[in-house]
């Protein structure tokens, strides 16, 4: 999209505005008028996007009744949207531009339908263009790229799954190439492993970087770990060191025992609980919640980190008996993650209202306005505009609602194969 000439200010819009002047009904209210103008502007902007998206754009733009002159905002928003849609559809291996252009718009469609159709067409076109740009696709890819566009949701889902599998396969191949390259003294340039991924029409597969940065190293030889292993047999399941920081993974049932031992340790008494928090790893189904204890020894000036994996039901034993400081930190973890701490003196929510539903820092909790019993009781209902914003946000990730500056920043990052949150999974 970036390297295209910017033809947003083409005279089409002005022409169509004069050819088809909007005849507003005489008795419309201010709200109706506003809604109409917004709808028209959006439709117009969508048409613009379609014009940008394909080479044969003249055949379908301008749309007949999109008569309001587009505002800068209405132009900018779909531009921002387009790449995310593009990457999605490219992976689906969608149709060529000709097919999309051939579908004649029905005469009586509503502005919403029209907008949806135009966006779909533009996406298909962009996908076709992307495929053409990517050079000759791989042999296995060709039949898929010429398939007709998906009509039903099931078909679409099947395609997505298929494309995902393919992308994963390519990713695997790239990874294998990368590791092989790393083994030889002169590693291949990154383009070598990146190129096949791009031509396969799967821009989602991340390009393997050669230099990976620091890696966690095994720290079984650390004196503290050795001491823990000696005194508490079987309590330490794993010890690693990352960037000079020691992390010790502890068996869930024995965390209090380990904490007691560390607090009374003669060489490095960890008398100060710096921090207690939790991290959610949803892909780790056995123990999705990792409770993390950052301990500090004021006298010895040493830090150590303990980690305990747990589930929502199993919870963890509270360490408030060892360090009273853990009280509110455990309450916060319970509040935001839903991990229960056994034998905690006062386990209540800390930050959120006591009758709140859900635990916001879990990965499956949405980053959007939520509705639950508490909000219906205490907050005004969503307005129409808020609802629409919410739907747009769900459809396009953060893109549709972000400010022009934010979009510009993303534009920069997208050049580096950045993907939107929605595309991430």
């Amino acid at each position: 999209m970036n390297d295209e000439p910017d033809n947003t200010s083409s005279p089409d819009s002005a022409d169509s505005a004069t050819e088809h002047p909007a005849a507003p009904p005489a008795d419309e209210t201010a709200e109706e008028r506003r809604a109409r103008i917004i709808a028209e502007a959006k439709a117009k902007a969508a048409a613009k996007m379609a014009a940008k998206g394909g080479t044969n754009a003249q055949s379908e733009t301008p749309t007949p009744d999109a008569s309001a002159p587009p505002t800068p905002e209405s132009q900018a928003a779909p531009q921002g949207k387009a790449p995310s849609g593009q990457s999605r559809d490219t992976v689906m291996g969608a149709s060529t531009g000709e097919e999309a252009a051939a579908s004649a718009p029905p005469a009586d469609e509503t502005p919403e339908q029209k907008r949806a159709r135009i966006i779909a067409e533009a996406k298909a076109k962009a996908a076709a263009k992307m495929a053409a740009k990517g050079g000759a696709p791989a042999a296995g890819e060709t039949p898929q790229a010429t398939k007709p566009p998906a009509t039903s949701d099931e078909e679409k889902a099947a395609r997505i799954a298929e494309a995902r599998a393919k992308a994963a396969a390519f990713k695997g191949a790239a990874g294998a190439g990368g590791s092989a390259g790393g083994a030889t003294p002169t590693p291949k340039p990154p383009a070598a492993s990146g190129a096949p991924t791009a031509s396969a029409g799967a821009p989602k597969a991340p390009v393997k970087k050669k230099e990976e940065g620091a890696k966690a190293a095994d720290a079984s030889g650390h004196p503290l770990v050795a001491r823990l292993r000696e005194h508490l047999d079987g309590a330490v399941t794993e010890a690693s060191e990352f960037l000079g920081q020691l992390s010790v993974r502890v068996a869930r049932e024995r965390i209090v025992e380990v904490c007691e031992f560390l607090k009374r340790d003669s060489e490095t008494p960890f008398n100060y609980l710096s921090d207690l928090t939790c991290v959610h790893f949803p892909e780790n189904t056995d123990a999705p919640f990792e409770v993390v204890y950052n301990l500090y020894s004021i006298s010895a000036n040493v830090r150590v980190r303990l980690k305990v994996g747990t589930t929502e039901d199993a919870g963890v034993e509270s360490v408030t008996g060892v360090w009273p400081a853990a009280n509110w930190m455990e309450r916060e973890v319970y509040d935001l993650f839903g991990v229960r701490f056994h034998n905690h003196p006062d386990l209540r929510r800390l930050l959120l209202p006591p009758d709140w539903e859900g635990h916001p820092l879990r990965k499956d909790y949405p980053l959007e306005p939520v509705e639950n019993n508490w909000t219906t009781k205490h907050l005004p209902e969503f307005s129409e505009v808020q609802r629409e914003q919410l739907e747009q946000r769900r459809a396009y990730g953060l893109e549709a609602l972000s400010t022009p500056n934010e979009r510009r920043v993303r534009e920069i990052f997208r050049a580096g194969k950045e993907v939107m949150p929605l595309d991430r999974k």
Binding site: N271, S274, D275, I298, W323, A325, W328, R349, L367, V409
Partner: protein
């Protein structure tokens, strides 16, 4: 002989042994939207519970959905009184995870401005603490000096409060022309101002009556409950992260860590006043030793720390402000945890208030120096 029974106490139906008093969330002395529920026997606090979260914005959740450079401004809005310090812990955490070599000049500028921020934070604490206890003059005087620092911030960062002071890898720009003169003028005048505050407060009978022996916490208890910063040092624990685990350019600075003896509100007041003097020393040294050179490291266009977790903390004006960062190797963090000093310091409120009068609760909230923006995040 007929005996008349006489009641030995003067109880009436109105004399109830206990009452529950709600203080806040809209109360000037709670320094924000803190709600404290007190159970009182007469005027003595026999139990206390804090209700927090009125300002919860879910910053940690937002951060998981943002690119690394985009997260920095959110840190300013935690402890907005000490936005420069907060920003420093975030950029340093990311820099250390990335293994970036920040140029020495950037480190020195960071040291100067973070110490100025500490002074401004302590001045606002002094102003409001004095106001809570009944000294109005100190509010006007302390804010006058704070204004000087905020003007320096405005010239340097373009903002007075939420500065967005740093960038990952260094500074957004070098110091402005006249920076050294402005800072020198401030630090030259500052000892005189500190003496003025001391003449107002340090031997003031009312001040002594309201602070000495109020909110006492022993060193052992303070460590156990996780106090940090001046609140901990007031109890006599000489732990300062600037000394223990130096960051920025603190390793090259000479300064002392003031500690109190009794762990009461008056000692914490003395510790903070002395810290301002030491901060001034650090600023002077950093200005004198300020090296030339670039202020930015070579930073990758897309910031992707290696997969792993890292904890880094600095000595903020309120205490140990830390960042526990979990990266999955992508351009967005998997988890950003703020170690909030005010939240953990506030835990000690109950212990410090039990047995004191209601008016002392106000003094103890003041001495803990809390900012609700950071407690609720």
């Amino acid at each position: 002989m007929h005996q008349v029974e006489v009641a030995t106490t003067q109880e009436t139906l109105l004399d109830s042994p206990e009452m529950v008093l709600n203080m806040g969330p809209q109360h000037p002395s709670t320094h924000g939207v803190l709600r404290v529920v007190l159970r009182l026997d007469g005027e003595t606090v026999i139990d206390l519970d804090c209700d927090i979260g009125y300002l919860h914005r879910g910053m940690e959740k937002i951060a998981e959905n943002r690119l690394y450079p985009m997260i920095a401004p959110y840190w300013d809005r935690l402890d907005y009184i000490a936005a420069v310090s907060n920003g420093l812990v975030w950029v340093e955490t990311v820099e250390q995870m990335l293994g970036l070599e920040v140029p020495p000049r950037a480190h020195y500028i960071r040291t100067v401005l973070t110490e100025l921020n500490r002074i401004s934070s302590h001045l606002l604490w002094l102003a409001t603490h004095g106001l809570d206890i009944g000294s109005f003059t100190v509010l006007l005087w302390a804010l006058r000096e704070r204004e000087e620092i905020l003007k320096i911030f405005e010239r340097q960062f373009g903002a007075r409060l939420t500065c967005h002071a740093w960038r990952i890898g260094g500074m957004p720009n070098d110091t402005y022309d006249g920076f050294t003169e402005d800072v020198t003028r401030f630090v030259d005048n500052f000892p005189m101002r500190l003496e003025e505050y001391e003449t107002l407060l340090s031997e003031n009978r009312i001040w002594l009556g309201r602070t000495v022996g109020i909110g006492v916490i022993s060193a052992e208890d303070a460590v156990a409950i996780g106090l940090s910063g001046p609140a901990l040092r007031g109890s006599g624990v000489a732990w300062d992260i600037r000394k223990a685990r130096p960051y920025a350019a603190y390793a090259d600075m000479e300064f002392e860590v003031p500690v109190g003896e009794n762990g009461d509100t008056y000692d914490r007041y003395l510790v903070r006043l002395e810290e301002m003097r030491q901060s001034r020393r650090i600023v002077q040294q950093a200005l004198a030793k300020m090296p030339d050179g670039p202020v930015n490291a070579k930073v990758p266009k897309i910031i992707k720390p290696p997969a792993g977790d890292y904890y880094h903390s600095i000595e903020g004006p309120k205490g140990e402000i830390g960042c526990y960062l979990v990266s999955d190797g992508s351009s967005r963090p998997a988890r950003v945890r703020v170690r909030p000093p005010c939240l953990i310091n506030l835990q000690a409120l109950r212990q410090m208030c039990l047995g004191h009068l209601v008016a002392d609760v106000v003094a103890i909230i003041g001495t803990l120096d809390i900012v609700l923006g950071e407690i609720d995040r």
